[in-house]
């Protein structure tokens, strides 16, 4: 390990014996490089943009700036960046949802022409139900998702509005287009009644209370003679379809009409959730109301207005329901309806309009089209609901973010298990660094430090202690040159408090005008002692990196 080193400067004074110091064996500076290059680690794929299609072009073209009334949004949200490697302009579609919606609407419109003939009647009946339920669920999603009020009484409001509208229609004989208006009025009244406790109760208390309200409505409707306890529902509301249509046309027009209702509900959703009210409410999620209030957000008012707005809309849909089915049935109040509706919301994912629509489509398909399956279809719906709830954080449409979060977590954990790189950039970090020189500098620096660390031995330290200044052995020289080359920030220096008597070690701030800071209280009596103490500090810092 050790050998002796003869000071070459001794030759200037041939009369004296040459100065000999114990030092390290020669270690080639190439060693760490050789070792590093010999070691072939497994290479991992990094980066996350492999699957994004990059459109060429500058992106300054007008078509991407088209905004549609009445919002100031672009049709497609397109982001443009410069590719760092090729220095070409690239464009990415940041939000692909408009495309999916367009495809979905086209599919909805063309659906009646693609259904096989023997299933046509069943599917079209179910599709009309889908439109109405989707509309109700969208409004309900506003209450649960946007306003954060866990109301389970939405279908009870539909039922109340449908019953009320039918009742009024039977009594006064109003035309069909009055039904949604009457329903809206009833919905508003009901909304006010149900919203009152929501001002004071929170979360689950309110959910359970509304569950009670549903049960109340069911018992009342079943037992009330006015509302047809004997006939199993109240029928006799005017239909919006002309009487002289064939059955097929009736189904077709009914489907398109309910689709229209769904589109209206989508617009309502977009205008409430995506505009001021939605933003206000997103600032005040559950359990963070106090913070929102402190910011000056009147979340109570926003919640209640969303609630009343949705209730009115749900009431109007109830009126349409009465007109579509010619009346109302106590089924709307049953626990099963509530369960199915909840399944629709949960399967799609709470808080998303696409979730409400897709969830409704799935559940209505199983419930209304697969009628042959009998009770098995409820088991199927229940199982889907259970699986979604157990494994998905946010329903079907939450799979993507959930998967990404999971992948990122796993990635960072794997990164943590790989060997510590001692200051070298990790691959994930490296992909996100703008200045790629930095990566190579850090790699070089790390290798150099690995080499320098090996030079630190007791002999070297002893050599430095005996003579801090002057000619040194090759190993110690390398060490000192490395130390001298470091940046000014936090570099150690010696402060002379009194010449030849008192020295202290300070650390430079590295910034002009900022005084160095004292790092220890010890006072050294002569400069050599101070030099050596400083050297020891640097060595210690080096060994600890």
């Amino acid at each position: 390990m050790s050998r002796t080193w003869i000071d070459p400067l001794s030759g200037f004074e041939p009369e004296k014996a040459p100065r000999e110091v114990a030092t390290n064996d020669y270690l080639s500076p190439q060693t760490t490089w050789n070792e590093t290059t010999r070691f072939k680690p497994k290479m991992y794929k990094v980066g996350r943009l492999n699957f994004f299609y990059k459109w060429p072009g500058h992106g300054g073209h007008l078509w991407s700036r088209t905004r549609y009334w009445p919002t100031r949004r672009r049709v497609l949200n397109i982001g443009g960046t410069y590719n760092q490697k090729t220095m070409r302009r690239e464009k990415t579609i940041l939000d692909k949802r408009p495309i999916w919606w367009t495809i979905a609407f086209a599919a909805f419109l063309l659906m009646p022409f693609a259904v096989p003939g023997d299933l046509w009647n069943t599917v079209m009946t179910a599709a009309a139900v889908f439109g109405i339920y989707a509309a109700v669920n969208l409004c309900w999603m506003l209450i649960i998702g946007t306003a954060g009020i866990y109301s389970l009484a939405s279908y009870a409001v539909v039922g109340a509005a449908a019953y009320g509208a039918t009742y009024i229609a039977i009594l006064t004989g109003i035309p069909w287009w009055m039904l949604p208006l009457a329903g809206a009025a009833i919905g508003l009244v009901f909304g006010v009644i149900i919203a009152l406790p929501a001002m004071r109760l929170d979360g689950f208390y309110y959910a359970l209370l509304t569950l009670g309200v549903v049960e109340l409505g069911r018992v009342y409707v079943i037992q009330s003679r006015v509302f047809g306890s004997a006939t199993g529902g109240l029928y006799g509301a005017p239909s919006y379809l002309p009487d002289d249509l064939s059955q097929q046309d009736q189904l077709l027009y009914g489907y398109y009409a309910s689709l229209l209702v769904m589109v209206a509900a989508l617009f309502l959703y977009r205008f409430v959730n995506g505009k001021r009210l939605g933003r206000v409410l997103r600032m005040a999620p559950e359990k963070k109301e106090a913070f929102a209030e402190a910011c000056g957000v009147d979340y109570r008012r926003a919640r209640v207005s969303v609630f009343l707005l949705s209730s009115t809309a749900i009431g109007a849909i109830g009126g349409f329901y009465a007109s579509h089915f010619g009346g109302a049935s106590p089924n709307l109040f049953s626990f099963d309806t509530l369960l199915l509706a909840l399944a629709m919301l949960v399967i799609g994912g709470i808080g998303r309009s696409e979730g409400a629509v897709a969830g409704t489509a799935i559940v209505v398909f199983i419930d209304r089209v697969l009628i042959d399956w009998g009770p098995l279809r409820f088991v199927l719906i229940g199982l889907i609901m259970l699986l979604v709830v157990l494994f998905l954080r946010d329903g079907l449409f939450g799979i993507k973010p959930q998967f990404r979060a999971w992948r990122d977590k796993k990635k960072s954990e794997r990164r943590a298990t790989r060997a510590e790189k001692g200051g070298e950039m990790l691959p994930e970090e490296a992909t996100e660094t703008e200045n790629k020189d930095e990566i190579y500098y850090r790699r070089f620096d790390k290798m150099q430090r690995d080499f320098i660390k090996r030079l630190v031995t007791n002999e070297i330290i002893e050599e430095h202690r005996s003579r801090p200044l002057g000619q040194h052995s090759e190993a110690l020289d390398r060490l000192l040159i490395y130390f001298r080359r470091q940046g000014q920030v936090d570099k150690y220096a010696i402060l002379v408090t009194e010449e030849f008597k008192a020295y202290r070690i300070v650390a430079l701030s590295g910034h002009r005008g900022t005084a160095p800071r004292v790092v220890e209280d010890k006072v050294y009596l002569n400069p050599n002692e101070a030099y050596h103490a400083l050297f020891l500090r640097r060595v210690q810092d080096l060994l600890e990196t």
């Binding site: 406790p197 208390y205 359970l208 209370l209 049960e215 109340l216 909840l342 954080r393």
Partner: protein, 293 residues
């Protein structure tokens, strides 16, 4: 107007509903789970008791034990399915609620499938005699139901107060995170809690079988009642649940006598809404701040 009948009814109903409400309340406060599958456990244990009475014999202890054991099994099943996989995941409370709802949806359909829609009736547990206490005529059935409910509930509550496992459950009610630091296994404890509350549901099911019979969907109404009592008493509070049960039992007995059976739910919910508007966390919700809802 027969006051003695009203009072006897009120007491019986209060005891049985109290059992249900305490089960729901315990589940909520210790596991943070609103067990909407409680009605399913209720119906399931009714069927368990019915099977036992059919195959073993219509003896009171057999039927009761069978009901309670089936309830315990049901509770453990629900726990394994709806609590264990998601209890440390985000948004757990809402997901747990929906998971139990899904279990009740599937479970009720399975019951309907395997036993058919026809209601089954259990044998009378406590004979058909009646006793006159202080001018109040009580049938043996009602006395038996009340006494067994009160005795079992008292036993459960005493056990909760004094034993190590009871301390475990109560500690978990207060602060689940700290409980695990102390050495309480959340998953193990959750099984004992759910077994306990499942057993309570089984007991209530056997006792209520004379009123509600055993049918696939017979659990929903008792569950809604139990929930509303637990809600009114303040979720997570045992004394609150007892007071709530007494109030609602009295209300039910009075309403059905004075106004008629169909108005029971209406007066009941008006009462609950009224109480919750005055005290948003229920009767006892203010007394102990066991868990931030």
């Amino acid at each position: 107007m027969n006051w003695s009948f009203v009072i006897a009814n009120a007491i019986t109903l209060a005891c049985i509903y109290g059992t249900l409400a305490i089960g729901i309340s315990l589940t909520w406060s210790s596991l943070g789970l609103i067990n909407m599958a409680y009605g399913f456990i209720f119906a399931l244990s009714g069927y368990g008791a019915w099977l036992a009475s059919q195959h073993i014999g219509p003896y009171t202890p057999v039927v009761m034990m069978a009901g309670i054991l089936t309830g315990v099994l049901g509770g453990v099943f629900v726990n394994a399915l709806a609590f264990i996989p998601i209890h440390d995941k985000p948004n757990y409370q809402l997901r747990g609620l929906i998971a139990t709802l899904a279990i009740s949806l599937v479970g009720n359909q399975v019951l309907l499938w395997s036993f058919g829609p026809r209601a089954k009736s259990l044998p009378q547990l406590f004979g058909a005699g009646s006793v006159n206490i202080l001018g109040v005529v009580m049938t043996a059935d009602k006395i038996g139901a009340s006494i067994s409910a009160v005795v079992l509930l008292t036993l459960v509550l005493m056990w909760m107060r004094s034993s190590r496992r009871g301390l475990e459950i109560r500690a978990m009610m207060m602060n689940p995170h700290a409980a695990s630091i102390v050495g309480i296994g959340v998953r193990q404890t959750s099984f004992s809690v759910m077994a306990l509350t499942g057993g309570l549901a089984g007991l209530a099911s056997v006792l209520l079988a004379q009123t509600y019979y055993v049918a696939p969907f017979s659990g929903i109404t008792p569950m809604v009642k139990g929930l509303s009592i637990a809600l009114m008493g303040g979720l997570g509070s045992v004394p609150g649940a007892v007071i709530g049960a007494v109030i609602l039992g009295t209300n039910e007995a009075f309403t059905s006598t004075l106004l008629g059976g169909q108005y029971v739910l209406i007066t009941q919910f008006l009462l609950i809404i009224l109480i919750l508007l005055i005290r948003p966390r229920g009767i006892a919700g203010i007394l102990d701040k066991a868990r931030e809802a």
